[in-house]
C-alpha cells in the first residue's frame, strides 16, 4: 500500500494542522473520529483517570475469539485443561451445538457450564434453559452459582419470569419431569431460547417419548446434550442425538441406515450369538461414522485425561445396640410397618423420616415421634439416654485424634448433631458444627475453625458445598442415608480433586437395622465404594428413569411381613442393581467403540 505523506521536506514546527474552527483539516477516514479530533484540536491534556476508565470499559466490552476464555477470571474454581479444550471445541468448531459425552465423573457439567458462562458473558445466551432430571436440579443450581457465579431460577408450573432477578437474567433450570408436562411445557416451547442444556440427554433420544418430544419442540440457537451414554443398544440412538444438535449431519434416516446400519454381523455381547439387527455391533464404515460423530461430540475417557484420585478406603463398624435401643428400634419399625401399608403420601414421608431417625439416634427420634402422635414411643425414646453408636464414635475419634487426623462426621439430622456435640464435649473432644441453616459467614467461620483448630466437624449433608475441605481425609457416617447418591455426595466432599491422601470412610451401623441391610446391598451387589464418581447415578438410572432407591427400600419394608421377607426383597433389589451395573459397563464399551477417540487431540 502506498500513501502520500503530507509533511515532507524540512519539518515544520507547531501548531498542528487544525483549521480555525478547531477541526482537523483534510479527509478524516471515519466520522467517528470527529469527536476525538475535536478534543485534540482543543489542546486538552490526556486525563489519566479517563484513560484508565476507558481501558477498563474496553476490556469489559471486548469479546475476543473463543480461543480466549473471558469467563475464566470469574470462575470460582480451576477447570482442567481437557475441560477447557472441550468447551473451546464446542464454541469454535461446533458453534455451540454439541453432545458432551465424557465418561461419568469427568465433568460434563463443568464443560457445559464453561460454554454457558462464556456465551452469557459475550451476551449470546441471555435466555438460557437447563433441563435436568429432578434429582439433579439442586445440584445444577448450586454448581451454577458456586462455580460459575451465575444466578438461576427454578421453573415450575408457575411463570418463572416473575422469580428472575432484576438486571441480569437468571439461568432457568427445569426438571425434565415438570418440563415435559403442561403448563410448564407450553411456556418453555413458546420461548425462543439462546441456549438449551439437556442433562442426561439419553432420556430425550426417542422422538416419540414425552421427553423426546419436548427436546424436539424447544427452540434454541445453541444446544448442549449431556450424556455419558449417547448410544445404548441401537445405532439409531446416536443418530437421534446427533440429529438434534446438527440436523442432517448424518444424512437422512434412510441414508444413515444404508451407509452404516446393515454391516456384517458380529457376535453379540459375550460372544453368545449374533448381535441383533440395528445394534451397535453391526456398524458398517465405523471409522467414517466415528469421524462424523466427533465433529459434534466430545468424549473423554478417564484413561485419556489421567484424572486420578487417591484411593478411598471404606470400612463398616457394626455396633450391637443396647437392650433398650434394640427394643425401641423394633417397636418403631413394627409401628411404621403397620401404619405404612395404607398410608397417604404425606404420612408415608413422615413414616420414612421416622424410620430413618430410628437408625440415627433415640435423641433425634423422640421429637418426631411426638409430632406423629406416638407419644408412648416418644416417651420410650427419651428414656434411652445412651447410644452404642455414640460410644463407638467416641472411641474411634480418640484413635484418630491421637494420630492427629481431622475427622468429618456426618449425620442427616441436626438433632443427632446436637446430641453428638454434647457427647463428644463430655468426652473431651472439641467439635464444631456445620449445617445448612448457618449463614455464609458462619459457615466460613466453622470451616476455618475446623481447619485451624477443632479436630472434629459435625455436619449435615450441607457440609463442604462449594468449600474446600480437602485438608481432611477421614470421615465417618454416623448414620447412613437411604439414598445412595447422598452417600456418594458425602464421600465426594473429601474424595475430590485436590485431595492428596487416601480417604478413609467409616460407616457406623447398628446391627439389625435397615441401614445395615442397605449397606450390605450396596457393598455386595454394586461395589458402591469402588465406583468412580457419577457411576452410581448411571446404575440407578438404568433400573428405571424414575427409580428412587430410598422409596424402594421403604416400600419393601412396609410391604414385608417380617424382617426375613424384607431381607429377601432387598436381596432382589440388589440383584437388579447388579444387572444395571453390568448393563452400564457394557454400554460404556459400546459408546467408546462408536464415539471414543483413539488418541486425545
Amino acid at each position: 500500500m502506498r500513501r502520500r505523506a503530507t509533511a515532507l521536506g524540512t519539518p515544520e514546527l507547531e501548531p498542528a494542522a487544525f483549521s480555525a474552527d478547531g477541526r482537523a483539516t483534510g479527509t478524516v477516514p471515519a466520522p467517528a473520529y470527529d469527536q476525538l479530533l475535536a478534543t485534540l484540536a482543543a489542546g486538552r491534556p490526556v486525563d489519566e483517570e479517563v484513560s484508565r476508565l476507558v481501558d477498563e470499559a474496553a476490556a469489559l466490552w471486548a469479546r475476543p475469539g473463543f480461543e480466549t476464555f473471558m469467563s475464566l477470571p470469574r470462575l470460582r474454581f480451576e477447570p482442567f485443561d481437557y475441560q477447557l479444550r472441550a468447551a473451546e471445541r464446542v464454541l469454535r468448531q461446533m458453534r455451540g451445538r454439541a453432545i458432551l459425552a465424557d465418561e461419568v465423573g469427568l465433568g460434563k457439567t463443568i464443560e457445559a457450564g464453561l460454554v454457558l458462562s462464556e456465551l452469557r458473558l459475550r451476551g449470546l445466551a441471555g435466555r438460557s434453559l437447563v433441563v435436568v432430571p429432578a434429582g439433579l436440579v439442586t445440584q445444577w443450581r448450586e454448581e451454577l452459582e458456586r462455580k460459575f457465579a451465575l444466578p438461576s431460577v427454578l421453573a415450575t408450573g408457575a411463570d418463572w419470569r416473575a422469580a428472575e432477578s432484576v438486571g441480569e437474567q437468571a439461568v432457568v433450570v427445569a426438571s425434565l419431569a415438570a418440563a415435559r408436562r403442561a403448563p410448564l411445557r407450553d411456556a418453555l416451547v413458546t420461548t425462543h431460547w439462546d441456549l438449551v442444556v439437556v442433562d442426561e440427554a439419553h432420556r430425550v433420544r426417542r422422538a416419540r417419548s414425552a421427553s423426546g418430544r419436548l427436546a424436539r419442540l424447544l427452540r434454541s440457537r445453541y444446544l448442549l446434550l449431556l450424556t455419558a451414554t449417547p448410544v445404548e443398544n441401537r445405532l439409531a440412538d446416536l443418530y437421534e442425538l446427533v440429529s438434534l444438535v446438527r440436523p442432517g449431519h448424518l444424512g437422512t434416516p434412510q441414508q444413515f441406515r444404508q451407509r452404516h446400519g446393515q454391516g456384517a454381523r458380529s457376535r453379540g455381547p459375550g460372544g453368545s450369538g449374533p448381535a441383533p439387527k440395528g445394534s451397535t455391533q453391526t456398524v458398517r464404515e465405523l471409522p467414517a461414522l466415528r469421524v462424523r460423530s466427533r465433529e459434534v461430540m466430545v468424549r473423554h475417557r478417564r484413561s485419556e485425561v489421567a484424572l486420578m484420585l487417591p484411593c478411598r478406603l471404606a470400612q463398616t463398624l457394626k455396633v450391637a445396640p443396647a437392650g433398650d435401643e434394640a427394643a425401641l428400634y423394633a417397636a418403631v419399625s413394627e409401628r411404621v410397618r403397620a401404619d405404612g401399608r395404607a398410608a397417604s403420601s404425606s404420612l408415608t414421608l413422615q413414616l420414612r423420616a421416622v424410620q430413618r431417625l430410628a437408625g440415627s439416634s433415640p435423641r433425634a427420634l423422640a421429637p418426631t415421634l411426638e409430632r406423629v402422635g406416638w407419644r408412648d414411643l416418644a416417651a420410650r425414646a427419651r428414656q434411652v439416654t445412651g447410644s452404642a453408636k455414640a460410644r463407638a464414635l467416641v472411641s474411634l475419634l480418640r484413635r484418630h485424634r491421637d494420630r492427629g487426623d481431622k475427622v468429618l462426621v456426618f449425620s442427616g439430622f441436626r438433632e443427632t448433631l446436637a446430641f453428638l456435640g454434647e457427647t463428644l464435649t463430655d468426652a473431651g473432644i472439641a467439635t464444631v458444627v456445620y449445617h445448612g441453616s448457618l449463614g455464609r459467614r458462619d459457615k466460613d467461620a466453622v470451616v476455618a475453625a475446623f481447619r485451624d483448630d477443632a479436630p472434629v466437624l459435625l455436619a449435615t449433608e450441607a457440609a463442604g458445598e462449594g468449600r474446600n475441605l480437602q485438608f481432611c481425609h477421614t470421615m465417618v457416617n454416623f448414620d447412613l442415608p437411604w439414598n445412595p447418591m447422598q452417600i456418594e455426595q458425602r464421600l465426594g466432599r473429601l474424595h475430590r480433586i485436590g485431595q492428596d491422601h487416601e480417604v478413609l470412610l467409616t460407616n457406623l451401623v447398628t446391627t439389625g437395622t435397615i441401614e445395615q441391610r442397605i449397606l450390605d446391598v450396596l457393598e455386595a451387589k454394586v461395589n458402591l465404594f469402588e465406583l468412580v464418581v457419577g457411576e452410581l447415578d448411571m446404575i440407578l438410572g438404568r433400573v428405571d428413569e424414575e427409580f428412587d432407591f430410598e422409596r424402594a427400600v421403604f416400600d419393601a419394608h412396609v410391604s414385608s411381613a417380617d424382617d426375613g421377607e424384607l431381607a429377601g426383597r432387598l436381596d432382589a433389589l440388589g440383584d437388579e442393581l447388579a444387572r444395571a451395573r453390568t448393563a452400564y459397563l457394557d454400554s460404556r464399551a459400546r459408546v467408546d467403540a462408536l464415539a471414543g477417540e483413539e488418541t486425545e487431540e
Binding site: 502506498r2 500513501r3 502520500r4 505523506a5 503530507t6 509533511a7 515532507l8 521536506g9 519539518p11 514546527l13 507547531e14 501548531p15 498542528a16 494542522a17 487544525f18 482537523a24 483539516t25 483534510g26 479527509t27 477516514p29 471515519a30 467517528a32 473520529y33 476525538l36 479530533l37 478534543t39 485534540l40 484540536a41 486538552r44 491534556p45 490526556v46 489519566e48 479517563v50 484513560s51 476508565l53 476507558v54 477498563e56 470499559a57 474496553a58 469489559l60 466490552w61 471486548a62 469479546r63 452469557r120 459475550r122 452459582e145 458456586r146 457465579a149 444466578p151 438486571g167 441480569e168 424436539r216 419442540l217 427452540r219 440457537r221 440436523p247 442432517g248 444424512g251 437422512t252 455464609r440
Partner: protein, 348 residues
C-alpha cells in the same frame, strides 16, 4: 476497591459521574448521581459481584450483562479518550554522530554514493499518534468477536511505527505538560488518523480472515445435507399426520412447525457462517510528544546531493522515526541509486 473488575469499573464510573460509594464487607454501598437516574436503579444501592452475598444481603448482583454495567461501558467508550501528552525529556546525553550515522545508513540502502549525518542536530518534540479502535468481527449474527486494537503512527505523516518502538512507548511514563522548552514538530492529525486507520483496518482484515477460516468452503455440502434431512423429516411427519387421529394430528402439526423453524434456523446458520465482516469504532486518540532530534542525512550521489530530514527519537526509544519517500511519500524502504534517492518504486 472490589477485586471484581466489572464491579470495580462500575464503582469508579459512578464516582466519576459524581456519585459516592464505600465498601461494606462483601458488598459496596453506592449513592448514584442524578445523571444515572435513567438506569432505573434506586438512588442508594448495595452492589456485589458475589451471588451468595447478593442473595443473603439483598444486594444487586452486578456482573457482565447487567444493564447498568452495559450502560457505563457504552457511555465511557462513546465519550472516548483523547488529548495531548508528553514523554519526559531524558536526562541522558545525546547519541554520538557516529551512532546516528550508522543507524541512518540502516534506513537507506546505499547502492551508490555515501550518506553522512551533518550537524547541527536540533532538539525538538516529535508528535506521535496513539490510536485505538474497537473491532467487531461479525462471523454470523449470533457470532461476534470484539477486540480492541491500538496502533502508533508518526503524527506528521501517518506512517506506522515499528513493533519495538510501540512496545517501549506503551511503557513510557507521561506528563500533561512538557518539561522542556524545545519546540514541537508540526503534526498533521488528519493524515495521521488516516494512516492509523489504514493500519487498524489492515490488522482487522487479517484477524477476520483467521476467524473466518473455520467457515471453510463446505457451505453447499452442508446445505444439501440439511435440506435433504429436513425434507425427509417433514415427509415422514406429513405421512404420519395423514393417518393420525384428531388429537394426534394437532401434536404432529406442532412438530411440523417446529421442524420448519429448525430448518430455517439451520439453513440460515449455514449461510451466515460464510459472510464475515468487520467494523471499527475509534475510542482513543492521544497525540504524544516524544523527545527527539532533527537530523539531516546528506546523501551524495556523484555531483548531486540530497538532504534527507530524519527524526531521531531519543532514549528510551532510541531509533529513527519512519522516513517517507521524499519523492512520493510512500512508506517504503529508501534506496540511494544511480537514479537518485527515493523508494524503489520511484527509482525504477
Amino acid at each position: 476497591m472490589s477485586a471484581d473488575p466489572a464491579l470495580g469499573f462500575w464503582l469508579r464510573y459512578v464516582e466519576r459521574e459524581g456519585g459516592l460509594w464505600e465498601e461494606r464487607g462483601d458488598v459496596s454501598l453506592a449513592v448514584l448521581p442524578p445523571s444515572l437516574s435513567s438506569l432505573g436503579l434506586p438512588e442508594t444501592i448495595l452492589a456485589t459481584a458475589d451471588p451468595e452475598a447478593a442473595r443473603e444481603d439483598g444486594a444487586q448482583l452486578l456482573g457482565p450483562g447487567h444493564p447498568a454495567l452495559d450502560h457505563a461501558t457504552d457511555d465511557v467508550l462513546e465519550r472516548g479518550d483523547a488529548g495531548w501528552t508528553y514523554v519526559p525529556w531524558p536526562g541522558s546525553s545525546r547519541p554520538a554522530i557516529s551512532t546516528l550515522q550508522a543507524r541512518a545508513r540502516d534506513c537507506v540502502a546505499l547502492e551508490r554514493g555515501r550518506l553522512d549525518v551533518v550537524p547541527p542536530l536540533s532538539a525538538c518534540y516529535a508528535p506521535l499518534l496513539r490510536a485505538g479502535a474497537l473491532a467487531t468481527y461479525t462471523l454470523s449474527p449470533d457470532q461476534r468477536i470484539q477486540e480492541r486494537l491500538e496502533t502508533w503512527v508518526d503524527a506528521r505523516n501517518g506512517l506506522c511505527l515499528g513493533v519495538r518502538v510501540r512496545q517501549v512507548l506503551e511503557g513510557c511514563s507521561r506528563l500533561s505538560e512538557p518539561d522542556s522548552p524545545n519546540p514541537r514538530l508540526r503534526a498533521a492529525p488528519e493524515t495521521a488518523v488516516a494512516g492509523a486507520h489504514a493500519t487498524l483496518q489492515r490488522w482487522a482484515a487479517a484477524r477476520l480472515s483467521g476467524y473466518a477460516r473455520h467457515a471453510g468452503s463446505a457451505r453447499e455440502r452442508e446445505r444439501a445435507c440439511a435440506t435433504a434431512y429436513f425434507a425427509a423429516a417433514l415427509d415422514t411427519l406429513t405421512r404420519r399426520r395423514a393417518s393420525a387421529s384428531g388429537d394426534r394430528q394437532e401434536a404432529l402439526d406442532g412438530q411440523v412447525e417446529a421442524t420448519r423453524a429448525e430448518r430455517a434456523r439451520r439453513l440460515q446458520e449455514i449461510d451466515e457462517a460464510y459472510q464475515p465482516g468487520v467494523e471499527l469504532r475509534p475510542f482513543r486518540l492521544h497525540l504524544v510528544s516524544v523527545p527527539a532530534l532533527r537530523v539531516c542525512a546528506r546523501v551524495r550521489l556523484g555531483a548531486v546531493t540530497h538532504d534527507l530530514p530524519l527524526v531521531w527519537l531519543l532514549a528510551p526509544l532510541a531509533g529513527f522515526a519512519p522516513a517517507p519517500c521524499p519523492a512520493c511519500g510512500a512508506a517504503e524502504p529508501l534506496v540511494a541509486a544511480r537514479a537518485g534517492l527515493g523508494c524503489r518504486g520511484c527509482r525504477r
